[in-house]
């Protein structure tokens, strides 16, 4: 059961700001200010300009964390508050933290490599290793909140934090924990991060139109927009949630994970690997295709992904595909890579709880290869009984989570 949501995103920090901007179709894509991008091919990103780590932790702790870990801690604190969870009343040895990431501390590695090259080995910081290590996503959440159950950080590129929710469900079902802080984090809007993604032609180069740059399923799409942020949710068993009278946003029904075994970065063109993950999530979640009303798509805005994802949805849903609402939050938030899946899970859980589906913005030019109902440009009030949430990663990792409505 998802009972708390903590978003630190380019369109808002906290559930209220995030949800309002998501449903209003506001873009969080801006010119890059983290560094001088004037010579870069790509000069736009979806950053979180108003993130102040010291609102969520003391200054000393903040100094000893890279930004991706700071954001994970902030998201976990927001989720705890949103869940109305008093940690003094729970057995902390039965609380897990499962916070995945794509790149972890790549930006810290870049900075310290610069210190090494310019000023020698003696100037590499003593905090370098414990700051850049990817596992600090879950371990800093564990340390700051005092969580002493399993602390796990896995990585599956852009599917990373879809995998978090499947992992957490298994941990709770297996009996290792009663409650978990679950999500993803990513913060690598740096020269190295942007240059690497730009040079592989993954990013939109619509530098003169930041808010129009992320256009999933649109005929004029030219790549994704790199984003940063963290989203952590409180997930607990039904018994634990009911025992403390918690508000339940949605139930994590199940998940499906597959690998394409195909290519470094491109999905299988027929979407068959993703389709197997969709079918796996339906089966694991005990759902028939007709039970699903909404898919929170991976929808990156790259030419290849959006066409392959559309084919995958057709393959898994047959005639019901045309009746699904399918939208991409990335049209507003950019692509948060390691935290993209958790952002989509948060959006789908809120859509189920509030009966409102966020739109896909910047959808103006039809693409014959993208022929589903993408909830163009305006959010839609509709009941959502069950939703699937997609995340597909470089390397061909596919992940789908199934969420269901819980009637009180």
């Amino acid at each position: 059961m998802i009972t708390g949501i903590g978003p630190v995103t380019p369109i808002g920090i906290g559930v209220d700001a995030f949800w309002e901007n998501l449903c209003a179709g506001r873009s969080g894509v801006r010119p890059i200010t983290a560094f001088d991008a004037s010579e870069m091919k790509v000069q736009i990103a979806a950053d979180v300009p108003d993130f102040e780590p010291e609102r969520f932790m003391d200054a000393k702790s903040a100094r000893r964390m890279a930004r991706f870990a700071q954001m994970a801690v902030a998201a976990a604190q927001l989720a705890r508050a949103d869940a109305g969870l008093d940690l003094a009343t729970v057995d902390l040895e039965r609380v897990a933290s499962v916070v995945n990431t794509g790149g972890g501390g790549v930006t810290t590695i870049a900075e310290e490599t610069r210190a090494l090259a310019r000023r020698g080995a003696g100037r590499v910081g003593a905090l370098f290793v414990p700051m850049m290590a990817a596992n600090m996503a879950s371990c800093q959440v564990s340390m700051e909140l005092g969580l002493q159950g399993p602390a796990i950080t896995g990585t599956a590129a852009c599917a990373s934090s879809i995998y978090s929710f499947i992992e957490a469900k298994q941990i709770i079902q297996y009996g290792e924990a009663d409650l978990a802080f679950v999500g993803g984090t990513e913060s690598n809007i740096s020269e190295l991060g942007i240059a690497g993604l730009a040079n592989m032609h993954a990013l939109s180069r619509r530098n003169d139109d930041p808010e129009g740059a992320s256009r999933p399923f649109d005929g004029e799409r030219d790549g994704f927009v790199f984003g940063e942020g963290a989203i952590v949710c409180v997930v607990e068993s039904l018994d634990a949630a009911r025992a403390r009278g918690a508000r339940i946003y949605a139930e994590v029904l199940g998940g499906g994970r597959t690998a394409d075994a195909h290519h470094l970065t491109a999905p299988r063109p027929d979407g068959s690997g993703a389709a197997r993950a969709l079918r796996g999530a339906l089966h694991d979640g005990g759902l028939a295709p007709e039970d699903v009303d909404y898919i929170c798509a991976h929808g990156t805005g790259t030419p290849l992904n959006d066409a392959a994802e559309t084919r995958a949805i057709h393959a898994a849903f047959g005639a019901h595909a045309g009746r699904l609402a399918v939208s991409s939050t990335k049209s507003m938030t950019g692509h948060l890579m390691g935290s993209a899946g958790a952002l989509s899970v948060a959006a789908a859980a809120l859509a189920i709880h509030r009966g409102l589906v966020p739109p896909t913005i910047n959808l103006q030019t039809p693409d014959p290869e993208c022929d589903l109902d993408y909830v163009p440009n305006e959010s839609r009030a509709m009941p959502v009984r069950a939703a699937l949430v997609n995340g597909f990663g470089f390397g061909g990792q596919n992940g789908v989570v199934a969420l269901g409505r819980v009637d009180s």
Partner: protein, 76 residues
């Protein structure tokens, strides 16, 4: 003193020469090494490099120990 306060994220009025790095300023061994690297960076010049060896860093107990070391090694 400013560097010590900045590195250890403590209020600058808490940092005195007598301050014990671990007991008073809540530093751990990682903080002390990181602090010595920052001091090397600050006090080295084109003419003179300041090197605080690991052995020397391990001996640092108070802010005064840092000041004494820097003075003995010709830092401004």
């Amino acid at each position: 003193m400013t560097i010590v306060a900045e590195q250890l994220r403590v209020p600058s009025d808490k940092v005195t020469a007598e301050s014990h790095l671990l007991d008073d300023l809540n530093a751990d061994s990682l903080d002390v090494v990181d602090l010595t690297i920052a001091l090397e960076e600050e006090f080295s010049s084109a003419e003179q490099a300041i090197e605080i060896s690991e052995e020397a860093a391990a001996e640092m107990r108070t802010v005064q120990d840092l000041i004494t070391f820097l003075e003995e090694h010709g830092a401004a």
